[in-house]
Subunit: 595 residues, 2 copies
Amino acid sequence: MPQQSITLMKQFPKSRKVYVEGSRPDILVPFREIELSDTLGPKGEVIEKNAPFRVYDTSGPYTDENYQVDLTQGLPALKRNWVMERGDVEEYEGRIKNARDDGYKREDDPRVNEGVFPGLKRKPLRAKPGMNVTQMHYARKGIITPEMEFIAIREGMTPEFVRDEVAAGRAIIPSNINHPEAEPMIIGKNFHVKINANIGNSAITSNIEEEVEKMTWATRWGADNVMDLSTGKDIHKTREWIIRNSAVPIGTVPIYQALEKVNGIAEDLNWEVFRDTLIEQAEQGVDYFTIHAGVLLRYIPMTANRVTGIVSRGGSIMAQWCLAHHKENFIYENFEEICEIMKQYDISFSLGDGLRPGSIADANDEAQFAELKTLGELTEIAWKHDVQTMIEGPGHVPMNKIKENMEMQEKYCHDAPFYTLGPLTTDIAPGYDHITSAIGAAQIAWYGTAMLCYVTPKEHLGLPNREDVRAGVITYKLAAHAADLAKGHPNAQKRDDALSKARFEFRWEDQFNLGLDPELAREYHDETLPQEAAKVAHFCSMCGPKFCSMRISQDIRREAQAKNLAEAPEEVRVAIEGMKQKSEEFKEQGQQIYS
Amino acid sequence: MPQQSITLMKQFPKSRKVYVEGSRPDILVPFREIELSDTLGPKGEVIEKNAPFRVYDTSGPYTDENYQVDLTQGLPALKRNWVMERGDVEEYEGRIKNARDDGYKREDDPRVNEGVFPGLKRKPLRAKPGMNVTQMHYARKGIITPEMEFIAIREGMTPEFVRDEVAAGRAIIPSNINHPEAEPMIIGKNFHVKINANIGNSAITSNIEEEVEKMTWATRWGADNVMDLSTGKDIHKTREWIIRNSAVPIGTVPIYQALEKVNGIAEDLNWEVFRDTLIEQAEQGVDYFTIHAGVLLRYIPMTANRVTGIVSRGGSIMAQWCLAHHKENFIYENFEEICEIMKQYDISFSLGDGLRPGSIADANDEAQFAELKTLGELTEIAWKHDVQTMIEGPGHVPMNKIKENMEMQEKYCHDAPFYTLGPLTTDIAPGYDHITSAIGAAQIAWYGTAMLCYVTPKEHLGLPNREDVRAGVITYKLAAHAADLAKGHPNAQKRDDALSKARFEFRWEDQFNLGLDPELAREYHDETLPQEAAKVAHFCSMCGPKFCSMRISQDIRREAQAKNLAEAPEEVRVAIEGMKQKSEEFKEQGQQIYS
C-alpha cells in the first residue's frame, strides 16, 4: 500500500491554493497564488506593491493546506453530482474482477488480494440505455455543463467558447463519469497547450507505491494528464490506486493489459479479450484510451525498409497480430462497437499512431501518412457517435518536416486535437531526448498541437525515476508555454513579464517563485551565493557588484531622468520626455515603473 | 598553476583520434573514429560488419593517445609555419605588460608574478607595414590558404567553396596569427552550425585552474569556440593559460578588461585604455573580439521603457559612458582605427548586440533593430578593410518573432554570419534556460544562424560548474545538429542513421558511443539494467523482453519475408516482393538490411 509521502505534495514556496467560484458553489476552480514582494528603490524604500500572481494549477487538493491527504481513501468525488444530476446515468454491478486482470492465472493465488485499493465503495456508472453522456454530446445540444464552466474559469475564456470548441471537435474534455476525482481540463489548440506525463511499471521494475508517487509528483510539477502505461503484474490494482488519487485525467493503452491477459503472445489476442479490457478500464474511470485502430494490414509492408521499423509498442503488437492471422486489425474492424462503449462512459479516443517514425530517416514516410489518413476516417466515425477524439502524432521528425505533420493532421483529421510525442528533432543525443524532443514539441505546439506527451532524459535508455519525471515535466511545461507565447495566447505573457520584472528589480525570491521550478532555481543560485543577503543583493554571481548590467541599466534610467533636460541632446530630451509621460500613464493605470 | 587533469581529457569509449592528410604533410585534420560492433542475427551470427564512424572532433590533441599533455608548455603551434611562410608578418617586441593588466595597482604587488604561464617563448607577430593578413584578404585575392584546405577536409566541402564563402563575407575563420595552437574552423551558414561555450572567472569566484579545465572540458564535449569572459583579477594570466592550451579559437569582450583597468568606473573609460587592451589581447592571440560599437547615444533612451532595460554587460557599460559624457560611443567613433588593428593580426569582429532584449516583452523592439542596422553599416566598413566580421544576436525572443531576427540580420548585415545567444523562448524557467534557449537556438540556426552561444542551466542564477558546462555544450550540440539536419546539410543525417540502426539492432554500446554523450547514456541505461548482459539484450527496460516493439518489428520483417507469398493477400505480396528487390539492391550496394 502506498505510503503517504507528504514531501511530494507540499506547496511551493510563498504559494497558496485559492479557488474561484463559478455560477454555483460546487464549481470551485483551483489556482496557485504566488505572493510577491515589494519593489524597492535604491535606498530600500518601497516604490511599488506587487500584486500576488495566479497560475494554472494541476496539483490537485494535495497542495491545499486545508486538505487532509489519505491515499487509501482517494480524492473527493468532485464531479459526482454534476454527472448524477443530469439524470442520464445508472449505477450497475459492473464486470466481475478476476485474477487475470492483474496478470495471475489462478484466483487462489495469494498475490491476487495483496495491495488492493481499499477505499472505493461506489458502483460503476454508465449511460442509461440509449443515452449518450459525452461532453461533446452535451455541447452539440447547446448545453454548457459545469465541467465546461470550470474549464472556462481555468482558461480565462467564456463558457460558450468552451462549448463551441468541444461541439466542433476542436477540443476534448477527457472525463470518464467513473473518474469524478478529476478536475475538468480541456485539450484543444485554442486553449493553453497541455502536457502529458507517462508513468507505469514494467515487467522489469517499479511497484504501485512508486507509480502513485510519480503521479502526484508529476502533477505537482504541472502535468495536465497522466498516462498509466503499466505492463507486467498488478496492472489493475496499480491503475485503481492511480485513478482514485488523481486530480488529472488518466489515459491508458488497453492493448498492453490485453496482451498480458494472453501471456504476452500477440497472436493470441482477440476482440473479446480486448473488449473485456475496455469495459474493465471504463468502469475504473480511465479518461482516454489510446487505440491503434489505424495499423492496417496493407500498411505493414510499408515499414519493412525503414531504418527503425515499427517503434510503437501498440502498433507492433497489432502489426504482429495482423500478419500472423492475415486478417485486418480487429480494433479497426470493431471500431463502431468501441464507440458504443466510449459514449456510455464519456471516454475519449486518443487514436494512436502505431506507425509513427522512430528515427529521422523514417519521418513523414508513406506508412506514417497512410495511417494518419485512416485516423481521420475513424475520427469522422467517432464524431458520428459524439465521442470525443484526439489524434496521436510522432515521434522523430527533423525540424523542416514538422510543419507538414501538423498540416496533414489538420487536413485529414478535420481539426481534431493533435497530441504528439515530441517530436525528437535528432536521434544523436540519447540521455538528452527531453531536449531533442522539446525543440520539436515547442514548434509543433506553436503550429497547433494541443497536447504534448513528455519525454524524459531516460528515453530509449531506461525507466524514468522521480527526478527524470520532474525534468521531463518542467521541460514540457516550458515548451508548451513557449508555444502559448508564440501563438499569442492572451494570458501567456503575463507570467514572463512578472518574472522578468522581478529579475530586473533584483527580487530574487520572486524570480525563483514565479518560475516553473522554484526549488531548483533557488538551489542553483545558492551554489554560488548561498548567503541570505544575496537574495536581496542588487547584483548576482555572474558579474559581481561592480559590473552588473541590470544595475547599470537601472542607473541609466535614473540618470537619464534626473539629467537637466536642457543639457541633453535633442533626441535624448525628446525620448526622455516621452518616457516620463509613459511613466505617468503607467502610474495612472495603477502600475509603476522605475523612479 | 593548473593541475594536469587527465580525467578531463580522456578519449571517449571505443573511439580513437585519426588524422586525414591534406595536400601537404602538415595539413592533418583530426576526426574521432568510433568503432562499431557487428550486426548479429537471431542466433548470434554475424550478418553485417559495421564500418567505423567518423565525427567532427573539437577536442584537440588531448584525446590523441600519442600526445603527451603538458599544460605548462601549451599545445604545439600547428599553424605557425603557414603564417610564417606567407612572408607578410614580422616578430616584434610587443607591448610591455604591466600590473594593471591583471587588475593590480602596483608593479611590486607580489601577486603580479604568481601563476604566470611559464611556457611561451615566442615574440608576438603582426603584419608587416602595409600588409593585411586576414583570411578574408587572402580569399579575396583568390588564395586558398592551408587553413582553408584544413577546413574543407573537416567540413567535407571543397577548398574553393571555403575560399568563396570567406571572400563573400558569408563565413569567417577566426584565426589570430598569435594563436597558432588553434585548429582552423569556420563559422558560416553553409557549414556545420557551430557552438560557443562561455567560461571565465568573475569578481566573486573561480580561479585559473578551473577555467583551463572548463575550456578543455567544453571542447571535449564539442565546443567549437570558447569565449573567455573573465572579470576581476588575473584576467591577463588566465587568458594566457587558456589560449596557449586551446585548440579552438578564443573570443573575448575587451571592454571587460578595460573596465577593470579603470577600477570598474565606466565613466573613466576612454579610447586609449580600450585601444591598449585590444593590442594586449591581440598579441596574446585572441581570435575574435566582441565589440559593442553599435550602442549609440541616440539609441539609449529607446531602452528606458523596456521591462529589462539593457542586459548586455558590454552594452550597459557603453551606455553608461555615453550618457555620462553626452558623447558618442568611442568604439563607434574609432571603428576604422580598430579595423587597422584587426587586420594586422587577423582578429575577427563579433559585433556585439549591446541592446539585445533581455525578456520576451522587449524582443524585436526599436532599440534592438536600430542597433542591428548600425552593425550592418559597421560590417561594410570592416569589409572595406577585409576584416572578418560576424554579428551577435539575441537574447530573449518568442518563437513567432525569431524568423524576423534572422531576416533583419541578413538584410541589414549583408549575409555576414549571425552568432546568437539562444534565443530564450520564454522567461519563466530559470534553472532550465539551456532548454528554453535551445528551442530558439535550433530554430534560428535552421533559419541561417552560423554559430550559437550556449546557455547553461545556471543562466540568470549563478556561474556554471563543470557539469553545467557539459549540459550546456551537449544541449547546444544537439540544437546545432538539429539545425544541420533541417537545413539538409549533406553529411548531417549519417550520424542519426548510424545511431538509429544501432538502436534498432540492439547494439547498445554502439548506440551509446554514437551519441553526443556516451558516458551519460551508458549511466542512464545502467540505472535500470546494470548487468553487462543487458548491453546485448534484445530488449530494454521500458517494455521488458515480451513487449519490445523493436524486437516485434524485427520479427515482423522476418515473418513477412518468410511467409509463403502465395498465401499472402495481394497487396502484402506486392509489397514484400518490392521489399525483397530493395533488399537485393542494398546488398549490391554493399549495404545490408535485416535478414
